[in-house]
C-alpha cells in the first residue's frame, strides 16, 4: 500500500502542507517557516524511499511506482504517475533542493511569510507532478500549475523591476505552452481517445509532415522553458528580479522541466520529426552555449551573470540530447543534475552576499575573501564545478556531452563539439573573472569591511550542495545508473525508426548511435 502510493505521497505531501499552513495565522511567521521546513524535509525523506526502491537493472520495468486510476474516464484522462530513471533523478533533485531553498529564505523574506511558504509548497507539488505524470493532460496541468506560484514568487517578493519580469515570464511560458495543448489534444485524438503516455507512444501513427508540426508545438513549449536561444530573453529578467529562493528553484528545477520534456515527450513521441529538426536544434544549442557565455563576460550584475551562464549550460544539455548517442544523452541527463546543484548553489551564495550588502553589482564588492573566507571557499568550489574542473560533477557531464557529440553520427558533429567546447573555455574565463573581481585583490569598498561570514543556518544551506558537487564528481556511477535504462530505451527507439527509414530509403546513412570507436567504456 505504502509502496504503491509512495510516489503520490511524495508528490502531494507539499500541497497538503500548504493546505495545513492556510489554517495557521499569518501573524506567526516562525510557525510557517518551521512547518514548511518540516514538510519539505519529510517529502525529501519519503523520496529517499523512491531512490532506494528503484530498480535500475536492465530487465526492470520502465516506469516504476506506477499508479493508474481513471480521472475523467469519458475523456480518456487518467491519473497515471510513474518514474523512469531520469524522472527519478529530477524528483530527487527537487525534493533535495526545496528544503535548502526554504532554509535560505529564512531571514530574507520579511513580508507575507505565510503566502511565500505556501507558494513554495504548491510549487514543489507542481514540479514533482510534472516529472511524475504519465498522462499528457495530467502533465499539462502540472506544467501550467508551476507558472502560478512562480509568477507570485517573482511578482510579490522580487526586486524593483519585478512586475515587468514576472509578466514577461508568465506570458512567454504560457503562450509557448498553449500550442502544446493543441498538439496534446490532437495526439490524444489520433491515438484513439486516450492521453495515457505509454499507450500513445505505442499507438501514435501520424504522417511525417504532421509529426513535424506536432514536434514543433512540443519543442517550442520546452525550448522556452529550457530556455534555448532565441527564446531565452525572459530568463535574465526573471532570474535577476526573483528573490533568491525563486532564482534557485527556477534555475535548479524549472529549467530542467524543458530538457526533461524533450527527453520524455518530444524525442520519443516524434522520432522522425526529431531527426529532421536535429541539426536545427543542435545549432541553436551551440549558439546558446557561446552566446550565453559571451553575454556573461559583460554583465555587471552577479545574478544576471549567473542567469546567462544558465543559458550556456542548458545549451550543453540540449547539445547532449541532440547527439543521440549513449554518451551524449547520459551526459545531458547528468548535466541537468549538475546545473541544478551548481547553479542553485551559485544563486544561493549570491543571495548570501545580497542579504549582507543589498546589492548584486560586482563593482560593489572586491577583495571580500579576507572578510568572508568561508563564503569565498564555497563560491570557489561551486565555480570550479560550474566550469567543469575534473573532480567536480561539472566535468563528468561536460566531458560526456562533448565526447558524445564528437562521436555522434550527425553531420558536422565534430564542429558542434568543438564550438561547444569553446563554451567551456569561456565559462572558465567569466566565472574566474567573477571570483577574482568579487573575492580577491585588495578590499576596495569600505562597506565590505565588516561583512559577517556564514552563519550556522547558511552552513546548513551550503554544505549539502558542496558535498553533492564533490560526491557527484568522484562517484558519478550511482547517479548515472538510474538514467541508463531510459537512455538505452530512447536509443533503441531511434534505432528502430532508423531501420524503418533505411528500409524505405536504402541509401540513407545512419544518424543515431555512437560512431566507432567508442571512447566511453560502455559495452
Amino acid at each position: 500500500m505504502a509502496q504503491t502510493n509512495l510516489l503520490s505521497i511524495v508528490v502531494f505531501l507539499p500541497v497538503v502542507g500548504a493546505i495545513a499552513a492556510a489554517f495557521f495565522p499569518g501573524t506567526e511567521p516562525k510557525q510557517h517557516k518551521a512547518l514548511t521546513l518540516v514538510v519539505t524535509l519529510a517529502t525529501f525523506a519519503a523520496s529517499l524511499g523512491l531512490w532506494f526502491g528503484f530498480d535500475a537493472s536492465p530487465g526492470a520495468a520502465e516506469f516504476q511506482f506506477e499508479v493508474h486510476v481513471p480521472w475523467i474516464p469519458a475523456l480518456g484522462v487518467s491519473y497515471h504517475v510513474g518514474l523512469d530513471g531520469v524522472a527519478l533523478l529530477l524528483v530527487m533533485l527537487t525534493t533535495a533542493l526545496t528544503p535548502i531553498v526554504v532554509l535560505s529564505a529564512w531571514n530574507a523574506i520579511h513580508e507575507r511569510v505565510k503566502e511565500f511558504m505556501i507558494a513554495i509548497l504548491v510549487l514543489e507539488t507542481a514540479m514533482l507532478g510534472s516529472f511524475a505524470a504519465l498522462d499528457l493532460i495530467l502533465f499539462y496541468v502540472f506544467w501550467e500549475g508551476v507558472l502560478i506560484p512562480m509568477y507570485l514568487l517573482i511578482g510579490i517578493w522580487g526586486s524593483d523591476n519585478r512586475l515587468y519580469a514576472t509578466v514577461k515570464f508568465f506570458i512567454y511560458t504560457f503562450v509557448a505552452s498553449v500550442l502544446m495543448l493543441v498538439a496534446i489534444i490532437y495526439v490524444g485524438a489520433k491515438a484513439g481517445g486516450t492521453f495515457d503516455y505509454p499507450q500513445i507512444r505505442q499507438a501514435l501513427d501520424v504522417s511525417v509532415s504532421t509529426q513535424r508540426w506536432l514536434f514543433l508545438a512540443f519543442a517550442v513549449a520546452f525550448a522556452v522553458k529550457v530556455p534555448m536561444f532565441p527564446f531565452h530573453t525572459w530568463l535574465p529578467d526573471a532570474h535577476t528580479e526573483a528573490p533568491t529562493a525563486g532564482s534557485v528553484i527556477l534555475a535548479g528545477v524549472l529549467l530542467k522541466m524543458g530538457t526533461f520534456g524533450f527527453f520524455r515527450y518530444a524525442l520519443p513521441l516524434f522520432p522522425e520529426a526529431a531527426l529532421h529538426y536535429r541539426p536545427l536544434v543542435a545549432t541553436l544549442a551551440v549558439i546558446g552555449i557561446v552566446y550565453g557565455a559571451l553575454m556573461c563576460l559583460v554583465q555587471k550584475d552577479m545574478k544576471r551573470l549567473v542567469a546567462y551562464s544558465s543559458v550556456s549550460h542548458m545549451g550543453f544539455v540540449m547539445l547532449g540530447l541532440m547527439a543521440l548517442t549513449a554518451e551524449g544523452l547520459t551526459g545531458g541527463v547528468y548535466q541537468m543534475l549538475n546545473h541544478g546543484v551548481s547553479t542553485g548553489a551559485l544563486f544561493l551564495l549570491v543571495g548570501v552576499l545580497y542579504e549582507r550588502r543589498h546589492t548584486r553589482l560586482i563593482s560593489e564588492y572586491g577583495g571580500v575573501a579576507r572578510q568572508v573566507p568561508w563564503i569565498a571557499t564555497a563560491f570557489v568550489v561551486v565555480t570550479l564545478s560550474s566550469i567543469g574542473l575534473p573532480g567536480t560533477n561539472g566535468f563528468v557531464g561536460e566531458f560526456l556531452i562533448l565526447s558524445g557529440t564528437w562521436l555522434a553520427k550527425l553531420l558536422h558533429a565534430q564542429w558542434f563539439s568543438a564550438i561547444g567546447a569553446t563554451g567551456v573555455i569561456l565559462g572558465a574565463v567569466y566565472m574566474l573573472l567573477l571570483v577574482e573581481r568579487v573575492f580577491f585583490g585588495a578590499l576596495s569598498n569600505e562597506k565590505n569591511r565588516l561583512l559577517p561570514d556564514l552563519s550556522l543556518r547558511e552552513w546548513f544551506v551550503v554544505t549539502p550542495l558542496v558535498v553533492l558537487i564533490v560526491a557527484m564528481g568522484f562517484m558519478p556511477q550511482p547517479f548515472l545508473d538510474p538514467a541508463r535504462p531510459s537512455v538505452d530505451r530512447l536509443l533503441s527507439r531511434f534505432a528502430t525508426v532508423e531501420q524503418r527509414l533505411r528500409d524505405q530509403d536504402p541509401g540513407r546513412a545512419p544518424t543515431t548511435g555512437t560512431q566507432p570507436p567508442a571512447l566511453a567504456g560502455r559495452e
Binding site: L75, V141, V182, Y186
Partner: protein, 489 residues
Amino acid sequence: MTGLSPIDVVAMLPVAVLVAGALVLLMSEVFLTSGRRGFMAGLTVATALLAALAALLAPAPGRVFAGQAVVDGFSVFVTVTVCGGLALTALIGAPWLHARDAERGEFYALALFAASGMSLLASAADLLVAFIAIEVMSLSTYALAAYMRRGRKPAEAAFKYFLLGAFSSALLLYGTALIYGVTGSTLFADFARGSGSLFVIGVGLVGAGLAFKIAAVPFQMWTPDVYEGAPTPVTAFMAAGVKTAAFAVLVRVALAVWGGAAEGSVRFGAVVAVLAVLTMLFGNLLAVPQRSVKRMLAYSSIAHAGYLLVGVVSAGAAGARESALSSVLFYLAAYTATVIGAFAVVGAVERTEVRSEPADTWDLSRLAGLSRRRPGLAFVMTVFMLSLAGIPPTAGFVGKFLIFKAAINAQAYGLAIVGVLTSALGAYYYLRVVVYMYMRAPEAGEEGVLTLGPALSVALAASAVAVVILGIGPGPITDLARAASMLGQ
C-alpha cells in the same frame, strides 16, 4: 393544436415555479409593512433551487406542445445552470442593493421573470416560442439594467440595451417571417424543407438576432457600455444567464439548419467559424487596454462567446456533435460560476455612492492591495481570473480543453489554434488583476476594511468551490453534459 395535456404542463413546471416565485415577490412588496426585505433574496434562492429540482426530477418527455418545445437533457442542463446563476445573483444582489438603499421586491421578481424566459428558451423548438421566450427574458433584463435609474451611465446603458435589443428582436421576427414564407412552418424541425435565397436570408436574420444576445462580432457593440452601466449584479446575471440561454437556442437552430440538407448549410458553418474567430480576436484584443475591470469583463464575455461559438461550429461536423455539445454545456456551466463570482468581487469593491459616479468606480486601482485588505476576497478573485484565463486546475481550463478537443475532433484545427493563442492573450489582462491585488500597495485612502455580508460570502465561496471542483474533478459534470448532449429533436 388541441388543449393542454398533463404532460405538457408537467414539462413546463420549472418555468411555472419561477413565474410563481416572481408573482409572490411582487405581491409581497405590496403588502410589505416593515422595511425589512432580507427574506426576498432567500425566497428567490429557494425558488431557483425549487425550479432546478423540478427540472431535474420531472420526467423529460421530449417533444411537448405539438413539437413547439422540447424538454430533454439539454434543456434540463441549461435550466439548472440558469437557476444556479439566478441563485448566485440573488445572493450577491441583496447586499449590493442594500448598501445603496435600493432593495425592492421588483428586482428579484424581474430576475425571476427573466430566468423563466431563459428556461423556456432552453426548450424552444419553434421560432415563435423562441421569440416569446427571448422577449420575456429581454424585457426583464432591460428593466433590470435600468434598475438604478439615478445617474447617467445606467440610463445610457438601459436605453442602449433596449434600443439595440428591440432592433435584434425585429431582425429575429423578420427572419422568422421569411422562413415561414418558404417552409410554411416555424418549427426548427422543418428547416430541412427550406431552400432558396429567401430561406438563407431568413436564417441569416435569425442568426443575427441571436448573435446580438450572445454578443458575437459584429453585433457586440452594445456589450461594454451596457455591462458597465448596468448594476453589477445585473451585469453578472446578463453575462451568465442571457448568454447561457441564448447559446442554448442558438445550438438548436444551428443543428436544425445543419441537420437538414438545406443548400448552403456548409456555408453557414463557414460563416459561423469566421464569426467565432473574429469574436475571439476582437474580445481579447479590446479587453487588453481596459482599465475598468467591469469593462474588461464585458470584452472578455465577448471573447468567451467566441470560444463557445467554436463549440457550436464543431457540433456541425459529423462525429463531433456529442463532444462539441457537451463541451458547450460544460463551458456554459463553468462560465456561469466563474463570471458571477468575478462580478461579485467587482461589486464588493466598487464605491457605494451611485449618484456621483467618479471615473474610477471600477478602475483596476480599486483592487490594488486587496490581498492585504481582504486576503480571502483576493484569493477567490484570483481563482476566477485563472478560470477565465483557462489555467489549470480550474473549471475554465477544463471548459477550454473540452471546446478545443471538440474542435480538433471536428478537424477545425485553425479554430483551435486561434482559440489557444487568443486565450494566451487573455492571460495577460486577467493576470493584471492579480498583479494589482497582490503586487501593488493599496492607494491612499483605500486602506479601509471592506465588509462582506454573509450572503455575499456564501455566493463567493459557492462559486469559487464550484470553479475548483469543476476544475479538479470534472468527471460527474462532463458525464451529465454528455448525457444532455443527446438532443430530443
